[in-house]
């Protein structure tokens, strides 16, 4: 936010790698049924829909499987540039006119590239939905890719990359990715490198657009003031002109190389610490056990063991966290903190000692019960309170094949996890030495 003077007491360090970290459980007890309908258009395009007329808005969320992993190594940053260009002119409408029209319609439209998917979001007033959907259609199917916006977006991205060259968080992130993922596309940055972004050509952008945005790798979630019938018509109008099949190249399963330690020297008063352990994928049958175990270790923002030991008891850091990184072709547990340079060693020792304790004994029964309560109860509160968030949930349910009854079933999945499951996961994932990256001044 631009308001630089508002300071939350406890910043949440939740890294969203893939859609899934955000997806946690539902309390059967307290949720008014979120009624999900499956809508399939005459043209065969399917979307999940939650109808709600309380507010005269419609939120649409969509994801195409395949994101930055579809780039060639020397084209790092291509998917990201593509995502910035879809609303910079389409059909007969040039960039500026397109932006003005979005404004005049009172709509929001945006695209984004991740490692595994290319996503889009739209929010419109019900009254201007047809015009808004037409803008989405144009953006998806007829982007112009004019020279002026390409050069402008390239310059903007180069500026961001240049600006982050000495940002400690960015340096740490790049270092652990390179070390853990080696030659795999996950080792690269979605934002790309200066060299690669400089070298991107219009043809590269056109080609990726053609290969990536298609009907057979697309999932859609819609929430708000629109009926199933209206949506069914809209789906064909908006998405009908996309190619039937995406041309995706296969992406290898990543083999994680975990266990190295790396120090990057940078003159800063506060050192940045990152750790990376083995993990598991979202589709793993032990996902929920690992998720609960991680909540106890460092996932619970104000109640985890790491929070207690590092922040509450010793005042070593403002934030400390771990998370499950679940990508389509890899799973890992990431963690981190930032602390005064002369206390970095002490902080890292405590962090690793807590990990070791967890690997050895797992969570206590009491901790597991608390974790289950939180993860069950927080679902509706955190994920179902705005149209946009519900639409994202609908997309995740489809991308991860969670089932249309997922929101109702989730609490059962969580309840079924036993203490032995969580101990087994702790042992399996946390026993090996992690990759460690420290960015800070000499000697820290």
């Amino acid at each position: 936010m631009k308001n630089l003077i508002s300071i939350p007491v406890r910043a949440k360090f939740i890294a969203l790698l893939g859609l899934i970290v955000a997806l946690i459980v539902l309390p059967v007890t307290s949720v008014k049924a979120v009624e999900i309908q499956t809508v399939t258009s005459p043209g065969g395009i399917t979307a999940l829909l939650v109808e709600d007329y309380t507010v005269p808005l419609i939120a649409v969320s969509m994801a195409f499987n395949g994101g930055a992993t579809q780039e060639n190594a020397e084209k790092e940053g291509l998917a990201n540039i593509l995502s910035s260009l879809l609303d910079e002119g389409a059909g007969d409408i040039k960039s500026e006119e397109f932006q003005l029209k979005l404004d005049d319609l009172g709509m929001e439209l945006g695209f984004s590239a991740g490692y595994d998917s290319f996503t889009g979001r739209l929010k419109t007033l019900r009254s201007s939905r047809n015009e808004a959907f037409d803008m989405l259609r144009l953006a998806l199917t007829k982007p112009r890719f004019d020279t002026e916006p390409i050069e402008r977006m390239r310059a903007a991205q180069l500026s961001i990359l240049q600006n982050s060259l000495k940002k400690p968080q960015v340096i740490a992130g790049k270092a652990w990715r390179k070390s853990v993922f080696g030659d795999h596309p996950y080792a690269r940055s979605v934002g790309g490198t200066i060299e690669a972004v400089k070298g991107l050509k219009r043809d590269d952008i056109v080609l990726l657009h053609k290969k990536l945005l298609a009907k057979d790798n697309l999932v859609i979630g819609v929430v708000g003031a629109i009926s199933a019938k209206e949506l069914s018509v809209m789906l064909d109008v908006v998405f009908g002109d996309l190619p039937a099949k995406a041309e995706l190249k296969p992406v290898a399963e990543a083999k994680l190389n975990v266990g190295t330690t790396q120090k990057v020297e940078l003159k800063i008063p506060q050192s940045i610490i990152r750790v990376v352990f083995d993990g598991l994928k979202r589709s793993d049958k032990d996902f929920y056990a690992a998720y609960l175990m991680n909540y106890v270790l460092g996932g619970g923002s104000f109640s985890s063991r790491l929070y207690e030991e590092i922040r509450e008891k010793r005042g070593l850091a403002y934030g400390v966290y771990t998370y499950l990184g679940t990508q389509d072709h890899a799973g890992f547990i990431g963690g981190g903190t930032a602390t005064r340079a002369d206390r970095a060693d002490e902080t890292l020792k405590i962090l690793l000692a807590e990990v070791e304790r967890m690997a050895k004994d797992g969570p206590t029964k009491e901790e597991l019960e608390k974790a289950k309560k939180y993860i069950t109860g927080s679902y509706a509160i955190s994920n179902l309170d705005t149209s946009g968030k519900i639409a994202s949930v609908l997309v995740a349910i489809q991308r991860e094949n969670l089932g249309i009854d997922y929101i109702d079933k989730r609490a059962e999945y969580i309840a079924a996890v036993t203490i032995e499951d969580t101990r087994r996961m702790a042992r399996k994932l946390l026993s090996n030495k992690p990759t460690i990256v420290i960015v800070g001044p000499k000697g820290s």
Binding site: T54, L57, D104, S112, S127, S159, S164, I381
Partner: protein
């Protein structure tokens, strides 16, 4: 999320003065056409009442999901701190989680976590707030716990000292590790020559490290009292039940103090353009910013603040704004450029413009070009169309804010904290709709003067651009 989308979303959150019961102009496809009335212009029906101990309560219904946002706001922020005690408002905010006479440290947070709730707190120059987002069944307990810590806080060295280390780590993360933030602090300090807005909310390092338990208790006893607070409850709950619960919980808290009127030292009329520059080896690309001292919604003459909001839109609010169009699109000098008006403040506030040069472009070139854009605007004025579009953008954020009960609660709370009334908040859409070309030109010519401003330059240490 694309950068553009993120910008749009953060804007709708940033426009703190928004919402409710309105009759606004066009959102329809045909630009300038009258609104299709009805469905989109209905705001939430808020209820407000005051308890006997002076606590004001605002209830905003949102029955879409079984979720309720419970926020308590205190009319005290960093600008109310005593000289030499910078950071105490924020330090106390952290210490409010350290337990009371009957509720030990950590128990409140554990209760919130147990039911899957979210919680946090925040401090600004003008207010301090605490919130929980929970299921409606838990609301009364949240009220009981929040009311309890309004008067029963217990602080010990054991909890207070590690937390003082925590806020220093927070300062390192936010400011010391980030040259851009350090420049921001210096610009703010230069802009406010007399008013405490020149002091960072988190406090100066040398003062923060010397803050004590006694400082916190003194501040707490002076400002944390029901007659200095506003309770905002938004969500799946009725006003009647909120009233009943509030009387049972907050209603039992006695008035603890009379904080009195909020009078801070005011700014003199500015007389000199100021510049601040920071060079640091950690800076890898330069940037430019200029901040003007302008009236806030609370201090402005009627209509001026609304006009400044529209001026912000026209000059820098989007990729169709003048700064973006000229600096980024036409002259191709900047990678990004924009501006905005920070309207919500108790005292005089800021109007910002900024740009980041493209590679090979100097800050001097950027400055010349921005001066041209501003001079052109002052000389020839803005157009009817630009004003109408600016109004439209502002109104859009109002409607979209209704999709989030937390956003609504935050808008009401923040506005009440800087002296607005519920009526002011609810009539804002109709006031912003009335802004004219003449109004915008008038505030631009009155306030966008260099002598009212501080220009900040951020540069790499070597080979200065």
């Amino acid at each position: 999320m694309s950068h553009k989308l993120r910008r749009a979303f953060s804007r709708s959150l940033a426009s703190v003065l928004v919402v409710a019961g309105f009759a606004f102009a066009s959102q329809g496809p045909a630009f300038g056409e009258q609104a299709k009335a009805g469905e989109e212009s209905k705001g939430p029906e808020t209820t407000s009442f005051t308890l006997k101990n002076g606590l004001q309560v605002v209830v905003i219904p949102d029955r879409r999901a079984p979720v309720v946002t419970h926020m308590i706001w205190y009319r005290v922020g960093s600008a109310d701190e005593k000289p030499g005690k910078s950071g105490i408002a924020h330090y106390l905010e952290h210490l409010m989680f350290k337990g009371t006479k009957t509720v030990p440290a950590g128990v409140f947070s554990a209760k919130v976590a147990e039911i899957g709730g979210q919680e946090n707190a925040f401090t600004s120059t003008d207010y301090t707030g605490y919130y929980q987002k929970v299921s409606p069944q838990a609301l009364e307990e949240m009220m009981r716990l929040e009311a309890d810590r309004m008067s029963n806080l217990v602080l010990t060295d054991e909890t207070v000292l590690p937390e003082r280390d925590v806020i220093q780590e927070e300062r390192r993360s936010r400011t010391d590790n980030n040259p851009g933030s350090q420049l921001g602090e210096a610009v703010q300090a230069a802009l406010y020559q007399n008013h405490p807005y020149g002091i960072p909310v988190i406090g100066w390092q040398h003062e923060v490290q010397a803050l004590t338990k006694e400082d916190a208790i003194e501040f707490y006893n002076k400002y944390y009292t029901p007659n200095n607070a506003v309770l905002v409850v938004a969500g799946d709950v009725s006003a009647d039940s909120v009233k009943e619960m509030a009387e049972k919980t907050y209603g039992k808290v006695a008035r603890r103090a009379e904080p009195g009127l909020r009078r801070r030292p005011q700014e003199p009329e500015p007389k000199a353009a100021r510049t601040v520059s920071l060079s640091d080896p950690r800076v890898t690309s330069a940037s430019w910013q200029r901040t003007f001292l302008v009236p806030s919604y609370t201090t402005a003459k009627p209509g001026e603040a609304e006009a400044l909001d529209i001026l912000g839109e026209i000059l820098g609010g989007s990729s169709t704004s003048r700064l973006y169009k000229q600096l980024v699109k036409s002259a191709k000098l900047a990678a990004s450029a924009g501006g905005y008006y920070q309207g919500s403040a108790l005292d005089d506030t800021r109007f910002m413009v900024y740009a980041t040069p493209r590679q090979g472009v100097t800050l001097e070139q950027i400055e010349v070009e921005i001066d041209k854009v501003i001079t052109e605007l002052l000389t020839n004025g803005v157009s009817e169309k630009e004003v109408a579009r600016g109004i439209n953008r502002q109104l859009k954020s109002v409607i979209f804010s209704r999709d989030s009960q937390s956003t609504l609660a935050r808008i009401y709370g923040a506005s009440l904290m800087v002296g607005e009334t519920i009526e002011d908040i609810e009539q804002w859409p109709s006031r912003i709709s009335k802004v004219t070309v003449k109004d915008v030109n008038a505030v631009a010519r009155k306030y966008l003067k260099k002598i009212r401003s501080v220009t900040g330059y951020l540069r790499p240490e070597k080979n200065r651009s």
